[in-house]
Amino acid sequence: MSFASALIAPFTEFEFMRRALAAIIALSLGGAPIGVFLMLRRMSLVGDAMAHAILPGAAVGFLLSGLNLFAMLTGGLIAGFLVAILAGVVSRSTGLKEDASLATFYLASLALGVSIVSVKGTNIDLLHVLFGNILAMDDQTLLVVACNATITLVVLALIYRPLVIESVDPLFLRSVSRAGTPAHLVFLALVVINLVSGFQALGTLLAVGLMILPAGIARFWSHDITGMICVAVVSAMLSGYAGLVLSFQTRIPSGPAIILVAAVLYIASVLFGRVGGVVRQLFPGRHLEA
């Protein structure tokens, strides 16, 4: 098999690979811009917190209607919203930082979730059932991921200005406008939608990883937010594609393969990135001479 056909053949031969690629592209379009803002707001770990925070919602969904993905997903969304919005409100109205209040709420939520699950006396790992796999894209899941990306991009466009200003200079925004807090809360809602539908479609690792790692990569290639978002989206798509091919050729599970490719891109960016990369910092003179 030639090199070029090794890169293309998996997708022409197998429909599940094409569907996986489509899902990756949609996820990259929605998730990567969110990741850039999360990184700028020092909220990069919110994704993992959210993976636990949705448990009580999923558990209530399970209690009410059994092993029904839709009910569990809806419950998870509601729980995620509650945790994110409450944490946002607390950090806005008190001195507590966003990460600390989020940590408090997600831990409380997780404890509540475990208690609710134990009421039923079942020991099915609910989140294991709820969290999906990139190789198992059915029509419905693909549709959810695509809608999600569309909604995210449209809403981000609407709140872009206040969100950007809030991310870099919140005090200035507060002095000229009152759009800061609403923009922040809408943004939190977007984070939750992206994460929860991402969990359901692709599993935790991919949903969080394709949000945060590309943002980390983008930081080393661009000074301004728009540039960062573009780099993040492209590097997310690239990691997704290369990871799928890697998983197809080597038997590494797909989720980890995609994240490992992104991690390699990240390390390369840390070393050779145009903006603050290690090599640039060690040899700044050459750049100026050129």
Binding site: F16, H128, G132, L135, S254
Partner: protein, 289 residues
């Protein structure tokens, strides 16, 4: 003197409470074993199960109430063959004095990778051995009711023989070249060996492992090449992957096979015999012409 006798009386009550009948407390590790113990013990035993209906015995985490069940039990019936990895710690922490009965003692274990395959109950002849082991353990623990246990066990063994014949008759009706299916986890090795139906599983024995794109692609090619007619789902795992495979290969999605757990009373498999009947019906309707 009178006070002393009262104390003695109370102490005697505590050690040996006066009840209409003394029932033997037995704990079974999961729902299928619980059903077998109930059938052999009848009304002479109280059976509690640790992993109840629709629970996954592979990923079970014991709760304090389970430790209490264990502490009260005279017998603890387990499957063995590495199924209950969590058991030694639970027994130790509960301070249980129960005798542990390994129901699978005496069966010939199949290999699954480098370990023994624990799902021995999927073959009815194996369950005959399970039942004999349970009967002997109950008799040893409660010799007074030995006759009852023997009668119950004989009756249940006859039911199992009938069930075994039923399965064989049903399989015989399926054309030999169509006797192969795909399921989500490798729980049917013993069924395959006993009755000659080929099972292929996309994921390894553990519910934990995640498939690679290569694994799925190989499986799809395999199904197409071997013209495998049906894929099956299980009651405990996400079915989207197996549905995707079915859609891509044109194989029929044959419904649910129950492997490691009974359902509750309302479900299609509340007892072991109902579980086997349900599975065989699902197999024949998907594989028959």
């Amino acid at each position: 003197m009178r006070r002393l006798s009262l104390i003695l009386f109370a102490a005697a009550m505590a050690i040996h409470p006066l009840r209409a009948e003394d029932r033997l407390n037995v704990v079974a590790s999961f729902s299928i074993l619980g059903d077998l113990v109930k059938n052999v013990g009848g009304d002479k035993v109280d059976v509690a199960t640790l992993v109840g209906p629709n629970g996954d015995v592979h990923v079970y985490a014991p709760a304090p109430s389970d430790a209490k069940k264990n502490a009260d039990a005279r017998l603890l019936v387990v499957n063995g063959l590495g199924l209950e990895g969590w058991l030694p710690r639970l027994v130790q922490s509960a301070g249980s004095k129960a005798t542990i009965v390994t129901a699978s003692n005496g069966i010939a274990p199949l290999q699954l990778g480098s370990d023994a395959d624990p799902h021995a109950w999927q073959s009815v002849p194996n369950v005959r051995i399970y039942v004999a082991n349970i009967r002997d353990a109950l008799i040893a623990a409660d010799p007074a009711d030995a006759a009852v246990f023997r009668t119950n066990a004989d009756r249940y063994l006859r039911d199992l023989d009938a069930l075994d014949a039923e399965v064989r008759a049903a399989i015989a009706k399926i054309p030999p070249e169509r006797r192969k299916v795909i399921t989500t986890h490798n729980a049917f090795g013993y069924f395959a060996a006993a009755y000659g139906v080929g099972f292929v599983a996309p994921v390894g024995v553990s519910t934990e492992s995640e498939p690679s794109a290569r694994d799925i692609a190989t499986l799809i090619q395999q199904i197409k090449a071997a013209k495998i007619p049906a894929v099956f789902l299980e009651n405990l795992s996400d079915d989207r992957l197996i549905r995707r495979i079915a859609a891509e290969t044109g194989a029929k999605a044959g419904g649910i096979l129950y492997s490691d757990s009974l359902t509750d009373e309302k479900g299609p498999a509340p007892t072991y015999i109902a579980l086997v009947r349900h599975n065989i019906k699902a197999l024949t309707s998907a594989l028959g012409n």
